[in-house]
């Protein structure tokens, strides 16, 4: 079911849709269902569709289309979503081995201290239950997840790292992420997975999509090589 939306111009080449349901789960569902429907309609001139939590960015070439046309198409799809319930896309589960702490998770002690927990408790909470991917974000197909059930939000690092290695497992605020590619980052690092998160030659580019879940599993550093380089893939069954 589609919820209420507000559509606003975002410059001469983009429009932003905001779901205004008040309920975060419903808002997330609305913007992702609308993104799927809008993308399937293949509107001319549109080259970017970015659904996140409660907002959907549409980027287009204003030489080939215009705001009125895009708004009308969005309204049309939103009304159709309101009329019928879409079958929910099947959520898949990804099992992700993680070496926590040490060189792989240099910020584990800091995060434990900030949360008033032991390092062991932080790891236990992070790997306790599957985390839901909400959107793919910057940098490069990073799966942005709802964070684990920590007692409070995790502050970002005062000074971001120049480069974070691929496979890094990080948390910030109420969010969690796996870094697929080397990139700068201000999120505290808890650990690292030996799996290869992203294969640039794969189609689609990322094996996961919003709605899928990641189950993190602590492993001993000695078992790193067993998993090193194995592509991340959905669990069977």
């Amino acid at each position: 079911m589609g919820g209420d939306i507000v559509i606003a111009d975002c410059g001469d080449s983009a429009i932003v849709v905001k779901a205004v349901d008040g309920d975060t789960a419903r808002a997330w569902h609305t913007v992702h269902a609308l993104a799927d429907a809008f993308e399937a309609a293949r509107p001319g001139g549109v080259y970017g569709i970015v659904p996140t939590y409660d907002s959907l960015l549409i980027e287009f070439d204003c030489f080939h289309t215009d705001h009125t046309t895009v708004r009308r198409a969005l309204r049309h799809e939103a009304d159709r979503l309101g009329e019928r319930s879409f079958p929910a896309t099947r959520s898949r589960r990804f099992v992700v081995p993680v070496v926590y702490g040490g060189d792989h998770g240099p910020d584990l002690p800091l995060v434990a201290e900030q949360l008033g927990l032991t390092e062991h408790e932080v790891v236990a909470l992070h790997s306790a239950a599957p985390l839901t991917v909400r959107c793919l974000g910057a940098p490069a197909a990073a799966p942005m997840m709802d964070g684990p059930a920590f007692p409070r939000p995790v502050p970002r690092l005062a000074s971001p790292r120049i480069s974070v290695v691929p496979g890094s497992i990080a948390v910030a605020g109420r969010q969690a992420v796996v870094s697929p590619m080397p990139s700068p980052g201000g999120w505290p690092l808890l650990g690292r997975t030996p799996l290869r998160v992203l294969d640039l030659d794969a189609e689609p580019l990322a094996p996961y999509r919003p709605g899928d879940t990641f189950q993190f599993v602590p492993i001993d550093p000695a078992r790193w090589d067993e998993h090193a380089g194995t592509p991340l893939a959905a669990a069977h069954g």
Binding site: D9, S13, Y47, G48, S55, L57, E59, M144, L200
Partner: protein, 326 residues
């Protein structure tokens, strides 16, 4: 063996196109030529598709030599363009005989020069584009002695004796000066800045050296957010003007991550982004407020001018029996 373009001085040059479109949903920035207008015009003047791979030369001197006769066009920031030591014009097609050296030196007022070759060059591509992506680690950055395979050649066409420039195609030349006026429209979070929002238009900002294809950092009297609270990560467009913290404005450009958490005060227009792609550290920028309708009109006028140029090029090339791009 295929004909090649051999690079001598590479400076900061890369093979580039208009961008990697359609992958924002996977978190991939569009990237592509920072000055889209100059890149499009270079390709059109060289008889190519607007989005064909071409060479983006940033700030430093560049030279190369084709192994066969070629036709090139050089646009973007003002520079000295020579072929075999002889001055030639930017923003016009230029015939280059085999073995003659093309040199671009003394780039000034702007930052980027575009060099297109008729038929374009062979280049690796990722997800349908050769545009460098620094996060994915994908780029065809040029180095001295690199050889780019040419896709076609073009018989020499300029005057054998007088060497006079053959073309007067009146391309839509971008404006370059010591300072820039950049058009913006209101951003979706304008209200969060209260009365301080007008500071964006009251005085000039200076481009700092910490500026690149991801974003430009500008110093000056920055607007202040009057509300608090961290917005959830959401998609932000290329051109978003943000005030992250401290005393700098951040203007996102084509390499920007697709999601961010800062409020968007204003959005640079499509034509403004091409100009901003040329702004050098130390140069001064004034923002000018435009309506979305005016911004769209300006962009369309610029693109229509390129289309008109395309038909003049086709007519001239047909008359000279210059082969159409395969």
């Amino acid at each position: 063996m295929a004909d090649t373009l051999t690079v001598h001085r590479a400076g900061l040059a890369t093979v580039q196109d208009l961008g990697r479109f359609g992958h924002s949903r996977y978190g991939l920035p569009v990237n592509g030529a920072l000055d889209q207008h100059s890149a499009r015009v270079a390709n059109v003047l060289a008889g190519n598709d607007e989005g064909a791979p071409l060479i983006e030369i940033t700030a430093l001197d560049f030279s190369c030599t084709p192994s066969t006769d070629v036709l090139i066009a050089v646009t973007g920031a003002p520079a000295e363009l020579t072929v075999g030591g002889v001055r030639r014009d930017q923003w016009e097609p230029v015939s280059v005989p085999a073995g003659e050296t093309i040199a671009v030196t003394g780039i000034r007022l702007g930052l980027r020069v575009y060099l297109a070759v008729l038929g374009s060059v062979e280049t690796p591509s990722l997800l349908g584009s050769c545009a460098p992506d620094t996060i994915l680690g994908f780029a065809q950055t040029l180095r001295g002695d690199d050889e780019l395979a040419l896709r076609t050649h073009c018989p020499p066409i300029d005057h054998p004796v007088f060497r006079i420039p053959l073309f007067r195609l009146n391309a839509p030349v971008a404006h370059f000066g010591d300072s820039w006026t950049i058009d913006v429209t209101d951003g979706p979070d304008l209200e969060e800045f209260g009365d301080t929002a007008e500071r964006l238009f009251r005085s000039a900002f200076t481009v700092t050296p910490r500026s690149n294809h991801i974003g430009l950092r500008l110093s000056g009297d920055v607007p202040r957010r009057t509300t608090s609270g961290e917005p959830l990560s959401r998609g932000v467009p290329v051109g978003a003007v943000e005030v992250p913290a401290g005393d700098e404005l951040l203007v996102l450009h084509r390499g920007r991550g697709v999601t961010a958490g800062y409020p968007v005060l204003a959005v640079v227009t499509a034509t403004g982004l091409s100009a901003l792609g040329q702004a050098r550290p130390g140069q001064s920028i004034r923002f000018r407020r435009r309506t979305v309708a005016d911004a769209v009109s300006a962009h369309r006028a610029q693109r229509h001018a390129i289309h008109a140029l395309k038909s003049r090029v086709r007519t001239a090339f047909d008359a000279l029996r210059i082969p159409a791009t395969p």
